[in-house]
């Protein structure tokens, strides 16, 4: 798999710390900030050098396209049409003529340049506040040429962070289940892609059913459910090496796995004799602990970011509802009391919210509530959708949606969608096949 490659990062010039432009990400995206992403300039020699290695005619434009696309899909920014730009990219990077950018209503401007130095890709970029006529940030990266897409994502994260005051989520990956074939006999494979859908790769062949992959927040490990040899068990997969192993030695089905926030434990359900309870296994010493002990179905566990609490769903009240308990299984409290069934609780990386799936009167909703169950907010309603996963900054949820079939049972599809915490900016994430069970990685660079 792709090896992690160090990206060297330098701060070019100490920038002026006055934050003049501020994007408020707690509101909807009704007025995305107009900004101009000037193509990264490139000298002819560097252009030819990269063309030979990367088969891209102009890598400077390609990288700025990635930045532009990321900022647009965030829903917070409105990248302006390049045709309207008056200043050439190389000149703009030296000293923008702010009147020109002001004229096309750009409030922020991104410029930069790309060099081919000692077989390496060197990228510098600058973020400018057009109205205040000031530089806000200047950074340079050096990396192997193959990492060019990641450079685009890192620039996007830096711009997002500078303008919103919160970490970005662009230099990340999504692991999910690729689906093909008829609804009654779906072929499912693990697949991984960049957050923007690029670099899609399949990790399993589809010989056995696989479900619910989840990233380790602390490394490039994945835990998932596989029906290998018709025995549904939780597995651990190292996506760098491809090594796989069964988690624990349970005499029955283990499922619904997730990592603890420090990545050292796996929490999951074990089903036996019609009961499903929650267990943890320490990945270092292999010690297994039983966390819940109830004749009901207890599943879909998820840790709070400080690791002190666990949220899960249980039908101990008679119907599927959401509960919170301490990490040792004590002090179990039900938190969902609205109409309908509640499942798949996932604790926000910011710690303040729990995202969930709700089923009420034949409709499925993705929503969020506070960790005490108050402040329930439904973000989206559909025929079938479930399994939200948070972006690492806790601002976006990714989930999957299935369509209703027609009278002949045709027309089934499963796709990945994302929505902002505000309930705005709902988008489909394009995948080469049908897709379900998405899980968002942490930021790769940090």
């Amino acid at each position: 798999m792709t090896k992690k490659i160090l990206i060297l990062l330098f701060i070019l010039i100490p920038f002026n710390a006055n934050a003049l432009i501020e994007v408020d990400i707690t509101r909807g995206n009704l007025n995305p900030l107009p900004l101009a992403v000037s193509p990264l300039s490139i000298d002819e020699e560097s252009r030819k050098g990269f063309e030979k290695i990367l088969k891209k005619e102009n890598i400077g434009s390609e990288i700025s396209n990635i930045v532009e696309n990321n900022l647009r899909t965030s829903g917070l920014f409105n990248p302006l049409d390049k045709k309207a730009f008056l200043q050439a990219p190389d000149i703009a990077n030296l000293k923008p003529r702010f009147e020109d950018w002001n004229l096309i209503k750009a409030q922020a401007l991104i410029t930069g340049k790309v060099n081919y130095v000692d077989d390496k890709l060197r990228v510098e970029f600058r973020l400018w506040d057009v109205l205040a006529a000031k530089e806000m940030m200047a950074l340079a990266f050096t990396t192997v040429p193959n990492n060019w897409r990641r450079v685009g994502h890192i620039i996007s994260d830096k711009v997002y962070e500078r303008l919103t005051g919160e970490k970005g989520y662009f230099d990340t990956r999504i692991i999910y289940v690729s689906e093909e074939g008829p609804k009654t006999q779906r072929i499912k494979k693990l697949a991984i892609m960049d957050q923007d859908g690029a670099n899609n790769k399949f990790l399993t062949l589809g010989n056995e059913l696989v479900l619910t992959p989840r990233f380790n927040p602390a490394s490039q490990m994945v835990t998932y459910l596989s029906y290998f040899k018709n025995m549904p068990r939780v597995y651990l997969l190292d996506i760098e090496t491809g090594t796989q192993e069964v988690v624990g030695d349970f005499p029955g089905m283990t499922f619904a796995p997730r990592f603890s926030p420090d990545g050292k434990k796996i929490i999951m359900s074990f089903a036996k004799d019609g009961k499903s309870d929650i267990y943890t296994m320490d990945l270092e010493n292999r010690i297994v602990e039983k966390i819940t002990n109830h004749p009901s179905i207890d599943t879909s566990p998820s840790y709070s970011p400080d690791g002190k609490y666990i949220t899960f769903n249980s039908d101990r009240s008679g119907y599927q509802q959401i509960y919170v308990m301490k990490n040792d299984g004590s002090d179990v409290r039900r938190i969902s009391f609205g109409n309908g069934l509640y499942g798949t609780p996932v604790w926000s990386p910011r710690g303040d919210l729990i995202a969930f799936t709700k089923l009420h009167k034949g409709k499925f909703y993705i929503g969020v509530m506070r960790t005490d169950g108050s402040g329930e907010r439904l973000l989206t309603e559909n025929y079938y959708q479930e399994a939200p996963s948070w972006s690492p900054n806790g601002r976006v949820l990714i989930f999957y949606r299935e369509t209703k079939t027609n009278a002949k049972g045709e027309g089934f599809s499963a796709k990945l969608w994302s929505i902002d915490l505000t309930g705005y900016n709902e988008r489909q994430i394009k995948t080469p096949t049908d897709a379900s069970d998405p899980s968002w990685s942490s930021l790769l660079s940090n």
Binding site: T212, P232, N313, Y319, Y383
Partner: protein, 163 residues
């Protein structure tokens, strides 16, 4: 007197016919579905296969439930009889759920349904050594429809020969 009785009977039959035909024309589709469902448990035979003569391979469940109906218990008793007659045969009980639930909960629900069937077979003398339980949750529907009848066929525990 006799004529009167005949007339009366004819009238009764006629009224009955009228009522029935009214029903049939009005709710033809609904009646068709009702004849295959009791409550929301599937009672039809569309998807059912047979382990042996008179031994159906599957039982059906109500939404979110794992309680065995009278018909299910009868099916399982016939399976137990067949297993007693064929002591060398082992079985896998495959538990399933419909598509109207979250994936992980449905995996647990499928396991609970298959275990309900397993417990019943055991009370009729089948050793647990001969029974393996396997849940598919909502992963392997038999009917790809998005309607109550299709869902009722998919909420099932199927007894499959393991050897």
């Amino acid at each position: 007197m006799r004529l009167n009785k005949i007339l009366k009977n004819t009238l009764l039959v006629l009224t009955a016919c009228l009522v029935l035909s009214a029903c049939a024309t009005k709710k033809e589709v609904a009646t068709d579905i009702q004849s295959q469902m009791q409550g929301d448990v599937y009672t039809g035979t569309d998807t059912v296969e047979y382990l042996a003569d008179g031994v159906p391979d599957r039982v059906f469940f109500a939404t979110n439930e794992s309680i065995l109906t009278t018909a299910s218990r009868e099916t399982l008793r016939s399976q137990a009889g067949w297993l007693r007659k064929n002591p060398s045969i082992n079985v896998v009980l495959e538990g399933h759920a419909d598509e109207r639930g979250t994936r992980e909960y449905n995996l647990a629900l499928g396991e609970r349904r298959a275990n309900a069937a397993k417990d019943y077979l055991m009370t009729y003398g089948i050793s647990s050594d001969r029974i393996t339980v396997l849940s598919y949750g909502k992963e392997r529907p038999v009917d790809s429809g998005s309607n109550p009848l299709a869902w009722s066929k998919n909420r099932r525990s199927v007894t499959v020969k393991a050897n």
